[in-house]
């Protein structure tokens, strides 16, 4: 799952496994930094990879999974549901933006949407830590505030990367599904209650 630019370099075949892994990890880490401090740069778009989104999605799904099978029918989302929502949501948004006439490639868009889940994953971690304390309205307000801030951060980060690829008179049409997507994920995070 790497962009074509790297494949031209034949010497990567002979290097040690550690070098390969470190290079990919550094690329993923650099993209995380780009998401945390969103600027209008093309690095995320040019060298796309899907490792980061996969790590984030699996982490989020694992944390959102309910531990017990007490109320199976009316419980929270299971691992597969979160996974499907994230990936099919990203695919739908990408298709939507391409159908509206955007000139971003399919995997570039998936890459951006996946990486911009990072603030919400951080929010999930914070929420789980906060939930270890006593439950109550203060607890809820703290979690609400954290989730709102991270939701805004995700939307701003992904808009910074995706907005330029849309025709100017359709930007709102392309950004609204992104807003809805992150809103649903934020809702799942906010309503998470541990058993």
């Amino acid at each position: 799952m790497r962009s074509r630019i790297r494949e031209f370099d034949n010497s990567t075949l002979n290097e040690s496994v550690r070098n390969t892994i470190m290079r990919d990890l550094k690329a993923v880490g650099k993209k995380f930094m780009h998401v945390l401090y969103p600027r209008r740069s093309n690095t995320l778009l040019r060298d796309w990879d899907l490792w980061g989104p996969l790590i984030l999605c699996v982490t989020l799904a694992l944390m959102l999974q309910k531990g017990s099978v007490d109320n199976e029918k009316d419980g929270g989302p299971q691992f597969a549901e979160v996974f499907v929502i994230v990936w099919f949501g990203a695919v739908t948004i990408t298709l939507n933006s391409k159908l509206l006439g955007g000139n971003i490639s399919f995997f570039q868009s998936l890459c951006v949407l996946g990486y911009c889940i990072l603030p919400l994953t951080v929010a999930m971690l914070i929420c789980r830590l906060v939930l270890l304390a006593e439950a109550g309205p203060v607890n809820f307000m703290v979690r609400l505030f954290v989730v709102i801030v991270m939701f805004a951060w995700s939307v701003v980060a992904s808009t910074a990367f995706l907005a330029d690829s849309q025709p100017p008179n359709r930007k709102v049409l392309a950004v609204y599904p992104v807003f809805l997507f992150y809103f649903i994920i934020s809702w799942m995070i906010l309503t998470f209650t541990p058993e």
Binding site: N71, K73, D74, G75, G76, P77, E81, N96, K98, L99, L100, G101, N103, P167, P168, N169, R170, K171, V172, L173, Y176, P177, L180, F183, I184, W187, M188, T191, F192, T193
Partner: protein, 326 residues
């Protein structure tokens, strides 16, 4: 033939004379500057639809009519074919939503806003938003009913999203299909001047569902009267949009069939709104009744402190003093 062309353009009024003066410049200015043009410039199609209905609108109306004959030139297995269904700008989508919220008698939604440019963006994303609005508001209303109870265990009820999605998307696609088939069948029997394509019907249904999004959000308020008023208003607005859209298509027909069609459309719409939105409340009440932690049998009027407040669940809608099953 020049005389016939002049007559055709004269029907549109002052707007078209400027277009008739320099048609080429008009077609070029329509294209998005960022993209390669998707439509090959071709001869403008003479539109016969304007003979019957009154044409109201702005300058865009005639430009899109001119380009209407150039759409859908790609075969259906290419990506460009589906791009023609998303050929709308932001302001167009907002105009269509506004048109669905403010039905004015005499103005046909399809004629005024869609104008041979039906889009799938609106119906798809309005249905998606509606699904999640219903699920979230059902969840919230359930939560608010049981606010303050220490024995209540909150669950997000995530599975209901899939049920709501199935119902709403089925309504938004199958009912237009049935209606389109019915209108085509009647068209073969009675010559109707106004006929809609399948996508235009899907478009009208999709945009008419928009009013339910704020309705679903406002349903969190746990007051019976407020909920009934909201449902009535939403049903009135969207039902009238649908009725006014389809009345010109059936009024040439036998009186009874025309009336029956309109009544069926409105009835189906009422079924959706009342059934789907009410089920938020029924679900929450129903879920509560089966909750294993509920043991008390108090009515709403009396409270008992027993290390915590115990409240009797109500179905929130028709039962004001229900007793919980033990």
């Amino acid at each position: 033939m020049a005389a016939v062309d002049d007559l055709q353009f004269e029907e549109f009024g002052d707007v078209a004379t400027s277009l008739a003066a320099n048609p080429n410049a008009t077609t070029i200015s329509i294209e998005d500057p960022d993209e390669t043009p998707k439509h090959l410039p071709g001869p403008p199609r003479g539109s016969g639809r304007e003979e019957d209905d009154e044409l109201l609108g702005n300058d865009d109306s005639d430009k899109t009519e001119l380009l209407a004959g150039q759409k859908k030139s790609s075969p259906f297995w290419t990506f460009e074919y589906y791009q023609t269904f998303f050929d709308v700008d932001t302001y167009q989508v907002f105009d269509r939503i506004k048109g669905s919220l403010l039905p004015i008698p005499g103005k046909n939604f399809v004629r005024l806003y869609i104008r041979s440019n039906p889009d799938l963006y609106g119906p798809f994303w309005i249905c998606a938003t509606l699904v999640f609005a219903i699920a979230i508001s059902g969840n919230l209303s359930n939560f608010l009913i049981h606010l303050g109870e220490k024995t209540y265990h909150y669950v997000p009820e995530f599975r209901k999203v899939s049920i709501a999605a199935t119902i709403i998307y089925a309504y938004a696609w199958l009912v237009p299909l049935a209606l389109w088939g019915f209108l085509m069948w009647r068209n073969s029997k009675v010559m109707n001047i106004v006929s809609y394509s399948f996508l235009e019907i899907v478009c009208v249904y999709g945009y008419s569902l928009f009013i339910y999004i704020p309705t679903a959000i406002l349903w969190i308020i746990p007051q019976k009267a407020v909920r009934w008023i909201l449902v009535t208003i939403a049903l009135g607005i969207s039902g009238s949009v649908l009725a006014m859209t389809f009345w010109p298509a059936v009024r040439e027909d036998n009186r009874r069939i025309a009336l029956a069609t309109i009544v069926t459309i409105v009835l189906l719409h009422m079924l959706l709104s009342v059934g789907c939105l009410l089920s938020i409340v029924f679900w929450s009440g129903f879920f509560w009744m089966q909750h294993p932690q509920q043991k008390s049998r108090m009515t709403r009027a009396s409270w008992k402190t027993d290390g915590g407040w115990h409240r009797v669940p109500t179905c929130g809608w028709c039962c004001t003093e229900a007793e919980a099953p033990v």
